[in-house]
């Protein structure tokens, strides 16, 4: 599996992965320095191709950019170690270094910005993990994408499908094409057994399951699935060992087809 993942570096470097693959690869990147280094180098190579697309920008762009920056506060650097942002940046910025909307005409939902997992994932490790070398998908699911969840659930084109759980409670999957994301809302979901977590999955047309994050269960839980859902035909939930699994190791407790 890891060699397969590694082979995605080139497509990732040129943004040629679909959302699910992208999310999967970024999770890998967070723990694989070799891949980060390779992605850096391949991005450098790809960037050289921009020599072939040089086009003078319209003058209006210069004025709108230079006017725009006066209203945007530059983030502080990501400090080495646990003291990241002790002095700079609001807590919100620390928690979410990349999704703050810039003030722009484009009001469409924008996905979580991860400009370069090669760097940003490392930054996310430092910021979200408080300096520990572990990436906590949990943190992202609960603290940084709530607004995405709200946008999905309240989007005019939101659709939803639900299911009751075998041990009580229910889950509903919302998705919005305009936002490009899917959200799981669980009610009265029993907590995962000790040492286990609930893992979310997208199921593709071939029936294969792609990891889409973790969730805890509880009275009311809302989690945005990692990655876009457009290539998915459904979503599932399994019980997995703590930390999650790259592939399902148990029968799904819920498997919801997108109608």
């Amino acid at each position: 599996m890891s060699s397969d993942i590694h082979a995605l570096s080139g497509a990732y470097a040129v943004d040629a992965l679909d959302d699910v693959e992208r999310a999967e690869f970024e999770r890998h990147l967070a723990t694989c320095e070799a891949c980060r280094a390779e992605v850096d180098g391949l991005r450098e190579a790809a960037a050289s191709l921009s020599e072939l697309s040089d086009t003078p920008a319209p003058p209006s762009l210069r004025s709108s950019v230079l006017a725009g920056i006066t209203t945007v506060r530059p983030l502080g650097p990501v400090a080495e170690g646990a003291a990241a942002h002790a002095a700079g940046g609001s807590p919100e910025e620390v928690a979410d270094p990349v999704e703050q909307p810039v003030s722009l005409a484009d009001r469409r939902a924008r996905r979580t910005r991860r400009w370069a997992a090669g760097i940003a994932a490392a930054a996310a490790v430092a910021v979200l993990g408080g300096g520990t070398a572990v990436w906590h998908p949990w943190d992202r699911g609960t603290t940084t994408v709530v607004s995405v969840a709200d946008r999905v659930i309240h989007a005019p084109d939101a659709r939803h499908d639900g299911q009751r759980l075998p041990n009580g409670g229910s889950v509903t999957v919302y998705r919005s094409a305009s936002v490009g994301r899917a959200v799981v809302v669980a009610h009265d979901m029993p907590p995962a057994p000790d040492g286990k977590v609930y893992e979310l999955w997208f199921q593709d047309d071939a029936g294969a399951m792609h990891p889409a994050g973790l969730m805890a269960g509880g009275a009311d839980t809302t989690v945005t699935l990692k990655g876009g859902y457009r290539t998915a035909r459904g979503a599932g939930i399994t019980v997995e060992p703590a930390g999650g699994s790259p592939v399902p190791t148990s029968t799904p407790i819920a498997l919801i087809s997108f109608t």
Partner: protein, 202 residues
């Protein structure tokens, strides 16, 4: 790592660009809120940032929007740029490219897909060559480097990067078995990297 840094392109077409400007230094000053430094950064890179957005999106209006978004993000994140991971230009173009591609995917614009597919059915090399006609030595160096790639690698890389297509779409366009385009893209980029002598220092 210094060998990652590329100096400001000597042939930067914008009049405001001065040959001595170091993009990484300008980014650093931008991170401290230096708007004049950012203006110089803009002048040195706007043809590349806008040009890349235009190349992917095809629509000048959308390219301008995306380029603006990208610059505001570059301004906001300038302090996060790490020189030892790559050149400032590559960092900026990574932000730009991701935004352009996100725009394409989010829009799911069938019109753009249709038009682009048509355009991409022309031989890619011709396309590349024609659009680079005004570019100077650096572009020539890139074209020469591209010639070191196999034809499939070259087309896969240019469709993915300059066309903004997913590897699945690239596979379909090039009649490759699903799953092999990503390998071609990677192999092509590795060869390009090694030929260009960029990013190989780690």
């Amino acid at each position: 790592m210094v060998d990652h840094l590329r100096s400001v392109p000597d042939d930067a077409p914008e009049p405001g660009a001065t040959a001595g400007d170091d993009l990484a230094e300008l980014l650093k000053r931008s991170a401290r809120g230096d708007e004049a430094a950012f203006a110089r950064l803009y002048d040195a890179t706007s043809a590349k940032v806008y040009g890349l957005a235009l190349r992917v999106l095809r629509s000048p209006a959308q390219a301008e929007e995306v380029a603006q978004e990208a610059y505001l993000e570059i301004w906001r994140l300038a302090g996060r740029y790490e020189a030892d991971r790559g050149s400032a230009l590559a960092w900026m173009l990574t932000i730009t490219h991701r935004r352009a591609v996100d725009r394409v995917r989010a829009a799911e614009a069938s019109t753009r897909r249709d038009v682009s597919y048509e355009q991409h059915n022309r031989p890619v090399e011709h396309d590349v060559t024609a659009e680079a006609a005004h570019a100077a030595l650096e572009a020539r160096r890139v074209r020469v480097a591209l010639e070191a790639l196999t034809e499939v690698q070259r087309e896969a890389v240019t469709l993915a990067y300059l066309g903004g297509y997913t590897h699945t779409e690239v596979a379909s366009m090039l009649d490759l078995p699903v799953g092999t385009a990503k390998t071609r893209i990677r192999d092509g980029l590795i060869r390009l990297r090694d030929t260009m002598g960029v990013g190989a220092g780690r």
